[in-house]
Symmetry: C2
Subunit: 250 residues, 2 copies
DNA sequence: ACCTGAACACCGTTCAAGT
DNA sequence: ACCTGAACACCGTTCAAGT
């Protein structure tokens, strides 16, 4: 095909000095891609393409893909922090309930973050800021010493563990799961366990989103009850290791 | 190079009729590879190589890589089930403590499973068998209706959520994490949060494995306390939705 | 200082062809 | 029935070279 007339006017002007890629820009584009297409769909080439650059251009701003994902993960923690819940007004129970529901919502909105939490360290500034707020919440409530961190870890791990299988289900099903789909699956697969199957017919909520919320609420209450017991039980104690009931890790 | 003398005797005998690959064999080899090199290191080519076969041979026995991973994940659930803890002797508290520690240990021994739980459904026979045992544990203890499943989900999600970040830490560090490494990292990164840093110096256990176990124990006690509260509180209730304290998902 | 292209060593999966 | 090899459309990353 014929070349078009080249001239100063047809040729794209040289990019103004600082109009190249920014690390921020790259991270934002990565999060867009992660939100819309999911973690496995994020490739350096595709991301470069979206930014109108070669894939390898990204490597000047970022050491490798994992580093980019660490940056995205820290943005996620920033969203959790922004969601609030830890501003210090209200009872511990209210504060933690708000925080837990917020963390849950942000995780469901950015499911890739749940995967990354299991693969990369959360050592960015936003993660630390959130950690500090969580720490203050528990010290203000009266927790002391190691218990401050153990209590925070208990809430976080519960929320994370609650969401992780939900993400797997939605991925397997290719979208939000309806209760009837679960029932249909169980009727086909759990033929050896009639009681379980019957329960799914009779006792599970119609709306599986509501069911998941019920499970979350149930578990959260258990955790909060336990935390309050621990707080009231021995107000000045440094740790609770003396009242352990565990048989120990195997 | 010269061909060696070909004959019936030099030529390898035709494989006996059923000596080819087995699905079981493939899954076992996959788990070996996952245990020794981790999830990202598992490729169909490498797995085929280990079995003395072409990568593409595997596709006769297994539809795709995800299906293979589903099979491996079900084996994991089998290991959890074999670990016991749900045999029905002892109090609910004892039973659940043993179960939780066992689940934790099996997850730590096969960290890839924690990742897969977040990406694939657990709909294999061993997962169902374990689910049934868990169901019986809670019905025997007096839970009814939906609460049976909510209680089981609470224990499982706590354990899973507790282990997921530990896996990330070990991966980032390339091996088991020593407390001094965490302290060193925090001194460098959490400069804005002196109280947090000080706590890590004074209050964290020397042995970070012990620290993780403490955190697990603390949280598990919270969960168990909460479950017992719920059990004693309203022995005949079908669900606990009436006593929710949640502000609701956003 | 920032970006490009070619190149390397990989991936998962399909499919015609072999035995 | 079971396995192979070539092929396709991808990967992350390095590095010399450009501007």
């Amino acid at each position: 095909m014929a070349k078009s007339f080249d001239s100063v006017w047809t040729r794209a002007p040289r990019q103004p000095r600082t109009s190249g890629l920014t690390r921020d820009q790259i991270v934002r584009a990565a999060i867009d891609l992660l939100d819309s297409e999911g973690l496995p769909a994020l490739s350096m080439r595709k991301l470069g393409g979206r930014l109108g650059a070669g894939a390898t251009s990204l490597y000047w701003h970022v050491a490798n893909k994992d580093e980019l994902l660490e940056l995205a993960l820290d943005e996620f923690w920033g969203l959790v922090d922004d969601g609030g819940g830890l501003d210090g007004s209200g009872s511990l129970r209210e504060t933690l309930t708000t925080y837990a529901y917020n963390l849950r919502a942000v995780l469901l909105a950015h499911p890739w973050a749940a995967t990354l939490i299991g693969q990369l360290p959360s050592w960015g500034p936003r993660a630390f800021r959130l950690g500090e707020r969580l720490r203050r919440t528990f010290t203000d409530a009266g927790f002391q010493g190691l218990d401050v961190y153990l209590a925070g870890g208990t809430v976080n791990s519960f929320v994370l563990g609650q969401i992780v299988p939900v993400i797997a289900m939605e991925k397997a099903h290719g979208g939000p799961v309806r209760q009837q789909d679960v029932v249909g699956m169980l009727d086909g697969l759990a033929t050896d366990y009639p009681e379980m199957r019957a329960d799914y017919h009779t006792v599970m909520p119609e709306d599986s989103t509501a069911g998941q919320a019920l499970g979350f609420d149930f578990g959260l209450m258990c955790v909060l009850d336990g935390l309050e017991t621990r707080l009231r039980g021995r107000p000045g104690a440094d740790t609770v290791s003396g009242e352990t009931n565990a048989t120990g890790p195997s």
